[in-house]
């Protein structure tokens, strides 16, 4: 029966090629637009470390001015970063399965052999950075707690930096020169592009990870300049970088790995106790407001899905709605226009159900063709967008889940557009039509 319906549908669609193309085109355009915006939205809002979402916590302490909150739009939010002394004190004393304190700096790499020196963006981090964030290694491994304590001059390179310095080969054990000092390479990362860059959303949320990783302690011993945001609230005279370490300026990120609710509770009461102690010393002028965020909560707090993407998503769905309404109108006039033929089929014994199914098959055919067209248009839209996003090209790759979503959307749109017209036509009274023949 399906074959017969398909043949009827095909014949019917062929009879009015202009309207058929218009219907397919309208749904395809709507699907193309929504696929494009959905992909960008999906990519932006995806939690890149969902598998560890429940155990990772971003740590914030409300160390800001008594006169005004850190974020006047969200006065309950504590600053996203910490001072050097607080980050260090908590890293040393807090009860957590794992903990990482980190910040950004930049150094100049000298590749030697007459090649010009170039800038590398560096993450100074404690050793738990790599296991906590599931960072994949191509060669070697990260450093250990001893290297952190002693400030050993060891380095982990990103895949790209290893390519630039050593042509991509296994460089573990080799020496890299940074700002005139020598560091021993102990690890090289495999391709690692967490999007968004969840572990530090303050300094370019869609940036690629740093070029090179060094033990955190080196930042203080070598007085490495900050390369990320430094925010200060307290009037303090700062003479050079040394003063920044003792200041109330915030420029460090802190994450804890807490595996059980009990661990979370213990950690929370530890940092609350820490701030209470500091208050006795005249620090932390605001009320105690220390918060722990899972990665999902952290992404939501930073509103990483830009406003524009959300507006575009809504607009594209409005567009799809217009397209569907349009097709409902077209189908209705098509079906009712051919009501005479339907009346004959009814008179010859076709039941209402059969008429309904026959028209739904026609609608389904339109929907399927439109889905294919929509996917093609979506791919075109994303390619066009890629030029508009440039450095964010990872945001504009059509993936499997989005392809499936587009197909589902097309079928849904087709059904929405077709159900009412198919229902209307199967309720046609054959007698009225047959009389005028």
């Amino acid at each position: 029966m399906l074959g017969y319906y398909l043949r009827l549908a095909w014949l019917s669609l062929k009879r009015t090629p202009a309207i058929t193309l218009l219907m397919i085109g309208a749904i395809a355009l709507g699907i193309g637009a929504t696929t494009t915006t959905l992909t960008v939205y999906h990519r932006m809002s995806t939690n890149p470390i969902a598998q560890r979402n429940d155990v990772l916590r971003a740590v914030t302490l409300d160390n800001w001015s008594a006169d005004r909150p850190w974020d006047t739009d969200h006065p309950d939010n504590a600053p996203a970063e910490l001072t050097y002394r607080d980050a260090l004190a908590i890293a040393q004393g807090a009860p957590a399965s794992r903990l990482v304190v980190m910040r950004k700096t930049s150094l100049t790499a000298e590749p030697g052999a007459g090649r010009p020196p170039f800038l590398v963006v560096v993450r100074l981090a404690t050793h738990d950075f790599f296991p906590m964030f599931d960072v994949p290694f191509a060669y070697g491994a990260g450093w250990d707690g001893k290297a952190d304590r002693d400030g050993e001059p060891v380095a982990v390179l990103s895949k790209e930096t290893n390519g630039k310095l050593f042509g991509g080969e296994n460089s573990v054990g080799k020496i890299v020169r940074l700002d005139g000092r020598e560091y021993r390479v102990i690890g090289v990362l495999a391709d690692w592009q967490p999007t968004p860059k969840f572990y530090d959303l303050n300094n370019g949320e869609y940036d690629t990870p740093e070029d090179l990783f060094l033990p955190f302690a080196l930042g203080a011993t070598l007085e490495l300049q900050p390369a990320g945001n430094v925010n200060c609230w307290k009037p303090e005279t700062l003479a050079g970088l040394r003063d920044l370490f003792g200041s109330e300026c915030i420029w460090h990120q802190l994450w804890a790995e807490l595996r059980t609710p009990a661990e979370v509770e213990r950690f929370q009461s530890y940092i609350d106790g820490y701030v209470a102690e500091q208050k006795k010393l005249g620090r932390f002028p605001r009320r105690i407001n220390n918060r722990l965020y899972t990665v999902d909560e952290w992404l939501a707090r930073h509103e990483v899905v830009g406003r524009d993407s959300r507006v575009l998503l809504v607009v594209s769905f409005a567009f799809l709605a217009v397209c569907v309404l349009n097709v409902v109108g077209l189908l209705l006039s098509r079906f009712l226009g051919a009501a005479g033929a339907t009346a004959i089929r009814r008179a010859l014994g076709a039941s209402r159900g059969e008429i309904f199914r026959q028209h739904l098959v026609e609608v389904g055919l339109v929907g399927a063709l439109a889905g294919i067209g929509g996917l093609a248009l979506g791919a075109v839209g994303l390619t066009a967008l890629q030029q508009l996003y440039s450095s964010y090209d990872r945001l504009t790759q059509l993936d499997l889940s989005m392809t499936l979503a587009a197909i589902a959307l097309a079928v849904l749109a087709g059904l929405l557009a077709g159900l009412y017209p198919a229902w209307r036509i199967c309720r046609v009274q054959p007698a009225g039509y047959l009389k005028t023949q």
Binding site: L29, T108, S316, N326, S333
Partner: protein
């Protein structure tokens, strides 16, 4: 012509009319808001930078060698750059205008640190900055060469300051700013010795400090980084850029030249999201309007075909072609009017969402009105072809089968 028969005919094909009316309504709601967003983005992109953007090159130098000399590198670089034929003026600068990165400070118009702070976006520059950026001195004087401190001892305010016109108004209102003092939160102060024409600062769309609230400090900063603004003669930028890069790279000093770029590089980056929004929204607006117009044509064609006999009868009874055409135009006008009224409500609902969720300014009525008129005109245009075809129906043929 009477409206009543048209209305009753429309009511007979309620579904078709409702569908087209809804399309018009949704389209209006979207395009009114989209036009408003597009217009505000375009205004932002086209806002003048206040500086000589087409002829500016920026460069960054970062010291790395153990024997790197920060202050000495600066004076040598300035001499080197000024010596290149085609270079008009050079200054060091801590940040690049409109790059999204920069420094801000809380200033006070009185020594009292409890007074409400005045946020200012500060630029650390040397004595030649007015020429190098391509600004004009509005009042007072420029920095003198000896007032520039390459490496300041601490973060205290320098003794002399220059403000933009906007910053002078922000800090001192209608009073003349020249000769007044600005204080920092440590109680240190600097005298305002000059006022320069406005330029866009580090951040666009900021409120505290505002985008043109700039304070110029005659000093360099801590650390090993220098950035330069190099203004060249008109039309020479692309020729000089590689030459400047080569000269800086070849001059040694134990530092790396991180980048040498035209100012437009940052403008492109800063406005990328806005351009994207303009392109994407315009595309959707065009497609949506086209689909709606096709919907109107489709419905009208269906109505014409369904009413061939009635039209033939009317023609036979003396209606002229123009009457038939006008009938369909009026019908479309009624439909459009209904759609536009609902659409205007939807447009304000959407605008309310945008205001609530994204703190966007409310939609000005002009955009709704203009979009509504445009949609009504489009409807008339779209219906013209099917209406003409209706007018062309031959009464003899159309009534023959009755």
């Amino acid at each position: 012509m009477e409206i009543r028969p048209i209305l009753s005919a429309l009511l007979r094909n309620r579904t078709g009319a409702l569908l087209v009316g809804l399309q018009v309504a949704i389209t209006l709601a979207v395009i009114a808001n989209a036009f408003f967003i597009i217009a505000s983005r375009l205004e932002k992109i086209r806002r003048p930078t206040g500086i000589d953007t087409p002829n500016l090159i920026f460069a960054e130098s970062e010291g790395y060698a153990p024997d790197y000399e920060h202050a000495a590198t600066l004076s040598s670089d300035l001499a080197l750059l000024k010596g290149i034929a085609g270079v008009v003026a050079v200054t060091s600068t801590n940040s690049v205008p409109l790059s999204g990165g920069g420094s801000a400070n809380n200033y006070h118009a009185t020594p009292d640190p409890k007074a409400a702070p005045i946020a200012g976006n500060y630029f650390e520059v040397n004595a030649d900055f007015i020429d190098a950026y391509g600004l004009t001195l509005v009042a007072g004087r420029a920095f003198r060469a000896e007032e520039f401190t390459p490496v300041p001892a601490n973060n205290d305010l320098p003794p002399v300051l220059i403000l933009t016109e906007t910053m002078a108004k922000t800090a001192f209102g209608a009073e003349p700013a020249l000769g007044k003092r600005l204080y920092d939160e440590n109680g240190k102060s600097g005298e305002v010795i000059g006022i320069v024409s406005d330029m866009q600062g580090s951040w666009l769309g900021n409120t505290r400090p505002g985008p043109q609230d700039l304070v110029f400090h005659p000093n360099g900063g801590f650390g090993k980084t220098w950035r330069y603004v190099i203004r060249v003669r008109p039309g020479e930028r692309d020729r000089l850029l590689p030459q400047i890069e080569k000269a800086l790279n070849g001059s040694g000093h134990g530092r790396a030249i991180i980048w040498v770029r035209p100012h437009e590089y940052w403008l492109t980056r800063t406005f990328r999201a806005d351009r994207r929004m303009v392109v994407f929204l315009s595309t959707l607006v065009i497609l949506m309007t086209a689909v709606t117009a096709l919907g109107i044509i489709g419905l009208a064609t269906f109505q014409v075909n369904a009413r061939r006999k009635q039209i033939g009868t009317r023609r036979a009874l003396g209606a002229r072609r123009a009457d038939i055409v006008r009938y369909f135009q009026l019908e479309n006008g009624l439909l459009g009017a209904g759609g536009v009224v609902i659409g205007a409500l939807l447009a304000y609902a959407a605008s309310g969402w945008l205001t609530n969720a994204f703190q966007m300014p409310p939609l000005p009525p002009l955009y709704v009105l203009a979009s509504a008129l445009a949609l009504l005109a489009l409807g008339q245009l779209a219906v013209l072809w099917p209406a003409r075809r209706a007018g062309a129906i031959d009464p003899a043929v159309a009534t023959r089968t009755v």
